[in-house]
Amino acid sequence: MKISKAQVPYLLLFPGFAFLFTFFVLPIINLAQTSTQTPISGGDTGQYTQTFAFSNYIHAFTDNKDQFLRSFVYATLATILALAISYPLAYAIAFKSGKFKNILLVLVVAPFFTSFLLRTVAWKQILGEEGFVVPILRSLHIIGQQTTLTSTAFAVVTGMTYNFLPFMTLPLYASLERIDPRTIEASGDLYANGLTTFRRVTLPLSVPGVVAGTLLTFIPAAGDYVNASILGSPSTKMIGNVIESRYFKIVDYPTAAALSFTLMVAILILVTLYIRKAGTEELV
């Protein structure tokens, strides 16, 4: 059998897409189904039947709206902080580092080769009573003598900001690096000072990187539960912690599914709105 040229792309796509369909699309459909099930009366724990109980969503949301809100607030804070930390860094590497560019780029990513979990545990030590941050802040009277940093929202957001930083830095760097230096020269030739050039030329041209970076940081941050459980306390629980415990400790699959589905849809809506607003469609 001779393969015609028009068939080639489909043949190339087939194995990967069959895989994604089976292990990504089907599970999501199944998740939506599970989310409206209710327990079988008299059945064992973990046995559910489809009853199209959409009230599951109302219960899941009203019972956990604090955790939902917290997830979005923490993720937003972590994204803004990561942007504030990464932008000057990416800018400096792209424009001011000369021949050290590649080395600095490697150094920016290098810390993230140590395990995600180990990094989070390291922050627990750094912010803990035995770490160096607390004594410094206490002696400067920035925090009170009794105040601790671990098991607080501050620690959770710090951990999230740090852990998702490369997702912000790399797209920012990629978009800054792509800027034609002649556009910046042209701006200078037209008597714009450094700040005006940055505001009117560099910043607008780097918007695709800002959009990609903020999304790649916000999405994993909103669904994360590792930082909240290692660095936080019961009062900093995020929606990820709730889903995890519904699954493993309570074996309440419908609620867990309803929460997961709500989280996914909420993020997709936010992402779509955000991309529209930012005006860049060529993300992928």
């Binding site: 000057p88 001011k96 290098a110």
Partner: protein
Amino acid sequence: MTRVVQDAPIPTIPFNARISRWFGRNVLRIYMIFGFTYLFIPVAYTFVFSFNDAGKSNLIWQSFTFRNWQNPCGAPEVCNALGNSIKIGFLATTIATILGTMIAFAIGRYQFKGRSSSNLLIFLPMATPEIVLGASLLSLFLLFKINPGFWPTVIAHVMFCISFVVVTVKARIASLDPKLEQAAMDLYANEFETFRRVTLPLVAPGIASAALLAFSLSFDDFIITNFNSGTLITFPKFVYVSAARGIPAQANVIGSSMFFLALTIVVVGQLVKGRKAR
């Protein structure tokens, strides 16, 4: 006529203005020093505490020892967990790189019906929080009475790695100069030969960095793994489980080694790339 050359008076700049000018010129440099310090503090902590003679709980500094480095498998389960992570990482990377590269070629090289929806299918797993990916896949496995464990974890890792491979390889394909392939065709290479001798070698660095990315994503993944691995212990799971009572210093040894290993791979890769460019 003789012209008298006069020395121009040296302008005196007030001290404060000089400081602020110096600061203005170096503000980015100062920022970089702070930025990199911030980035490396947790790494330094992990490294320093790998020399801690602390027994089981490694939260507080006790005394210096090389023992953890001499015996990295000294803590129970730690090397078993590491082995599982490496095995899963290799399998998932291989499968995801093959599947993802094929998709990248299809999307990057051909115009066909359904191309934009293909892009969407690649984007969606990256826009879905890990916990949703992990939880939904576990539900599917439970539905088909498949017990979570080694292979479900491999499948889960392939699933979330594919998109990253596609994006990385596609970017490399997009940056190729089409003239090189045209030249090969002009020199009477057929399509297959052109692909094998021109296109593939040019795309290879993209495939290599995609594979590295896939391996590091797989090796470091906790959330999706936690949902689909059942009783199987991977390295991140090992750290998470022991985090409450303090992780053994051997985990720090492994984490630091991973750091230096990855750094070496990247630096060597950069050197090879630099030499080729010359």
